[in-house]
């Protein structure tokens, strides 16, 4: 999942300066999980912006409909075309991916160019839970875990070093940069000890191949899933909600 937190309202109000009519769009994916873009967050943001004198139209997405999954979230955008056309800005309560996918879809598919504003700061791929989460993978495109006892030093070491701990390991095997965090290389050493592989620890690992991370990375799959669901969604919405859907339901 992509961890995220809400941006300070002052920053958002700065982006919305001079923009009176605002759409607040939610996200039913990661942003719902982290309470940064669920229906409650959309309502709270709408209430705040209304108090600030904005004219707000709410557009939450149901659970599991992610803003970044544009074939699905696009259904909601299409159904609200008129609102989008008449608004000054769209505030998207998702990660930056969701914000940009919505921007591109509106620009290119809907031919509606509006200011699209981020409501959240994305903090990276994380795992764990239910309350505490940790970033352990940076999707670099060239997984090194097979060489490092299953712990990624590029992500878990504060410096991303590939060849052992830096000289600053603190008492309790904590990181030089942040004593709340464990030194990844000490953890790798301890796992190698348990695995009987500690001799490997003295061998240099080659520099990481960053060529696999040429940005922006493009990706294609042959068999997209959920396309049948989109058809059903489009049909369902026409029948159920009519011309002006109540997307809160």
């Amino acid at each position: 999942m992509i961890a995220q937190e809400k941006k300070p309202i002052e920053e958002i109000l700065g982006y919305l300066e001079g923009k009176k009519k605002v759409v607040v769009m939610g996200c039913g994916g990661c942003a719902t999980f982290y309470h940064t873009g669920d229906t409650k967050a959309v309502n709270a943001m709408a209430e705040t912006l209304t108090k600030e004198g904005k004219d707000v139209f709410k557009m939450p997405l149901p659970f599991s409909i992610q803003a970044c999954d544009i074939e699905k979230s696009g259904v909601w955008l299409e159904k609200n075309r008129k609102e989008l056309e008449n608004r000054d800005a769209v505030l998207v309560l998702s990660c930056g991916d969701g914000v940009q996918v919505v921007t591109e879809y509106m620009d290119e598919k809907m031919e509606i160019t509006k200011a699209v504003i981020p409501g959240n700061d994305a903090l990276g791929l994380v795992g764990g839970g239910p309350k505490k989460f940790k970033e352990t993978c940076q999707s670099c495109g060239m997984c090194e875990l097979g060489k490092t006892a299953g712990i990624c030093p590029l992500t878990s070491c504060g410096k991303g070093l590939m060849n052992g701990p830096c000289g600053g390991v603190r008492e309790g095997d904590k990181c030089e940069i942040d004593e709340e965090k464990d030194c990844a290389w000490v953890k790798i050493y301890k796992r190698m000890e348990k695995l009987g592989e500690v001799a490997k620890f003295e061998q240099m690992l080659d520099p990481h191949e960053w060529s696999k991370m040429k940005r922006p990375r493009l990706f294609e799959i042959e068999e997209p899933i959920g396309m049948d669901v989109i058809g059903a969604m489009k049909g369902m919405m026409t029948v159920k909600f009519g011309p002006k859907p109540k997307l809160d339901e």
């Binding site: 052992g164 600053g168 050493y189 620890f201 061998q203 080659d206 960053w210």
Partner: protein
């Protein structure tokens, strides 16, 4: 390891002479006048001086430029410190080529402190290489005339590469494992982080075992209480003994400048007498005196080693 000797430092290390090196710190300034002055004072006391590269991630005068100017103006041989924190592998390679072209003969390859610890905390940390792969890069450039991608280098640089070790690291086995990576890729000498405790040093040498690479032990006789306190509080992997800190703290109260200097020197000589006596019995090849801005302490400390 190749047999060519390019620097006085390496000549002394290979000859088995006990080696003393010093340290110069370029600052946030548009000149290197102060380190040049210090280098003049240190001339004859040490075989070479390290020239720091953005120490503790404070952005200062470029270490290569400073090393070149100090060497040119004073004849003091420099150990050009080079950190991975601020440069990717291309920049590191071109800097090493530049250093060779400028006549620098020693590089100390360091990972470097994280940028968040210094005065430019919003900088993007690089760490494309680490200290081990930087050592590998430099050795490959010098010995094979190639870069890490196998591309040929015309007229390869002629310089030596050292690496760091941290005897006071919280997890010594992992630290020594990393040091062995450096040895395995051909590091030509090691310099330790500052050590104040003899038992810390002994544990490090015991854990490391016998190695063929000469090791310089880092010591830091502080010129002021503030310097010692900074090391204790902010330099990771270094513990300053409370008794020494307290003795240095007391020197703050001395108003007369000359008397204060004398007392600071006395405290340092008293503390380091035992330490240096102990050092004679270790496998250390020499002593790196990180006495920044404090050249007058070096002769009496050297005398203790005779």
């Amino acid at each position: 390891m190749g047999d060519e000797i390019y620097s006085d430092l390496m000549r002394d290390l290979k000859s088995g002479n006990y080696v003393f090196t010093g340290e110069l710190e370029p600052e946030k300034a548009g000149d290197v006048n102060e380190p040049i002055e210090m280098a003049r004072e240190l001339k004859g006391m040490v075989v070479a001086c390290n020239v720091t590269d953005n120490p503790q991630s404070f952005a200062y005068v470029n270490s290569m430029a400073a090393s070149y100017l100090i060497q040119k103006e004073t004849g003091m041989e420099c150990v050009y410190q080079l950190r991975c924190s601020d440069r990717n592998r291309m920049a590191l390679l071109s800097d090493v080529l530049g250093a060779g072209a400028l006549g620098l003969k020693n590089v100390l390859a360091l990972a470097g402190d994280h940028v968040s610890l210094g005065d430019t905390p919003d900088a993007k940390p690089v760490f494309d290489l680490d200290s081990t792969t930087l050592i590998k890069l430099i050795r490959t450039m010098v010995e094979e005339g190639k870069d890490l991608g196998g591309n040929e280098i015309h007229n390869p640089p002629k310089l030596h590469v050292g690496g760091a070790a941290a005897p006071g690291a919280a997890h010594l086995k992992a630290e020594v494992g990393k040091v062995k990576r450096k040895i395995n890729v051909g590091v030509e000498y090691l310099q330790t982080q500052v050590v104040y405790y003899t038992d810390v040093l002994d544990r490090f040498f015991d854990e490391l075992g016998k190695v063929d690479v000469p090791i310089l032990v880092g010591i830091f006789p502080a010129r002021t209480f503030g310097q010692a306190d900074f090391f204790d509080k902010y330099v990771a992997g270094v513990d300053v003994p409370p008794d020494y800190l307290e003795a240095m703290r007391k020197t703050k109260a001395i108003k007369d400048k000359e008397k204060k200097k004398e007392e600071v020197d006395r405290v340092n000589i008293e503390f380091f007498t035992g330490f240096l006596e102990h050092l004679k019995g270790t496998p250390a090849a020499g002593c790196h005196m990180m006495a920044v801005g404090y050249p007058r302490i070096i002769p009496p400390l050297k005398k203790l080693m005779e």
